[in-house]
Symmetry: C2
Subunit: 256 residues, 2 copies
């Protein structure tokens, strides 16, 4: 099987022109098949504020009412996605922007309103890995925005880490997948203030221990849970690393 | 050659939920290969106003400075495009949203600033008809937003009528094309106040006469010019008709 590199980048990196350009250069240089999943939360918050719409977060996740859904559809599906696509085309990458609604790539359902009503937020039901693999096999580089749809005409806001994990799992029958979560830190660190303290490998047992002793906290918990699920589902490697130097030999590797 | 129906719909129709649903029902019912080009100017003007950005129009065309480019990228590429895609997926149409940047489908260059500086507005250089035809041949229904790119990383605002005409021309080697411009009126009318006065056929000679005697005015002039160019380039038929009843036997047919 051929290799496929899936890169997930968060909002902070794609929303500053300098870090975005560095990321896009790195991404363009990755050999072979590739796919990018991006966030855009900071821009969404900023545009929402300019439109007089208040951003509410619960457990680090956005509450998406009808007005906020319009904002994230504009920002994730339009502003961030199309800027990345145009800038990758300038680097001779045959980029194509996708939301989960396009080609029915990702179906989801609206999350139950209990215990917390997140509004128009989608939990993924199904990724059409076959269709994605067909696109990739013709040289297309999918650029995926964190939006899905319910098949009844509604778009739903969906966590970008989740999309990256689900897309990786759905593509395991077709590719040897390297899934790389890029963010601001060098990896999962023993000491959050020491960039040299990156933990090189974490497996499921390590993860439980590191959560119990408080080394892994907050938003890193679902990120690593996603990673472990992906490995269990057949993704070859998952790496959590710094966006400014995508390099699969660095960062934290999640293993079985 | 197989038939391909290209529908162009303006902002007013896609921006009101009732007229949009009617349009999408009609579009979903068109048999065979199809492609939709949409506008979105009214939403762009509205969102821009909410963001405190003034809309300037010259000769019915939007002046697009850097801030307005962000707005149209959000509104055309995100809000309008993805809403249409999700609602067509709910009608079992395998819709895929595209701007000209995606897959490098439409290259353009920034219009000269003289005599009027329209800002980030693109004049089309090249449509990749071969790539579009490949997508269509696999059952994909492209939904095209009025944005193009310059190949150097910049998106450009591009008139949707122009995109429809250029896409139609680029696809003539692959399909027998019926290009239908949908808008609020029943067609080109002898008397603008009389919906019964639709002119059933217009050729290039008729067009010149009707412009000279003032029957065809304003925004209808470039629309029909586009249509005549498309016919000259091998598009099989061009029809200007009412969006609420897409029917190629009605409206005004532009002929050689």
């Amino acid at each position: 099987m051929e290799k496929l590199t899936i890169i997930k980048v968060g909002g902070k990196i794609v929303e500053e022109q300098l870090s975005l350009e560095r990321l896009l250069n790195d991404f363009a240089n990755i050999p072979g098949n590739k796919l990018l999943v991006h966030g855009g939360g900071r821009s969404a918050t900023q545009i929402a504020a300019q439109l007089g719409i208040e951003t509410k977060m619960v457990d680090g996740r956005r509450v998406t009412d009808a007005e906020m859904l319009k904002v994230v559809t504009m920002v994730y599906g339009g502003l961030v996605n199309k800027s990345i696509v145009a800038q990758l085309q300038a680097r001779n990458i045959n980029a194509m922007g996708l939301t989960g609604a396009d080609l029915d790539i990702i179906r989801s359902h609206k999350r139950q309103p209990n215990p917390i009503d997140f509004g128009f937020v989608g939990d993924v039901d199904k990724v059409d890995g076959k269709r994605l693999a067909q696109l990739i096999s013709t040289g297309i580089v999918p650029i995926m925005a964190p939006l899905t749809h319910d098949g009844e005409g509604n778009l739903l806001n969906t966590n970008a880490d989740t999309i990256a994990g689900e897309v990786a799992k759905a593509l395991t029958p077709y590719y040897n997948i390297s899934l790389i979560f890029c963010f601001e830190k060098a990896g999962v660190m023993q000491d959050i203030d020491d960039e040299e303290s990156v933990i090189p490998h974490i497996n499921a047992a390590d993860f439980n221990r590191l959560v119990d002793n408080g080394t892994i906290q907050g938003g890193m918990i679902p990120k690593i849970q996603n990673a472990i699920e992906a490995i269990d589902a057949g993704v070859k490697e998952v790496i959590i690393t710094k966006a400014t130097a995508i390099d699969s030999s660095r960062g934290t590797k999640i293993t079985k």
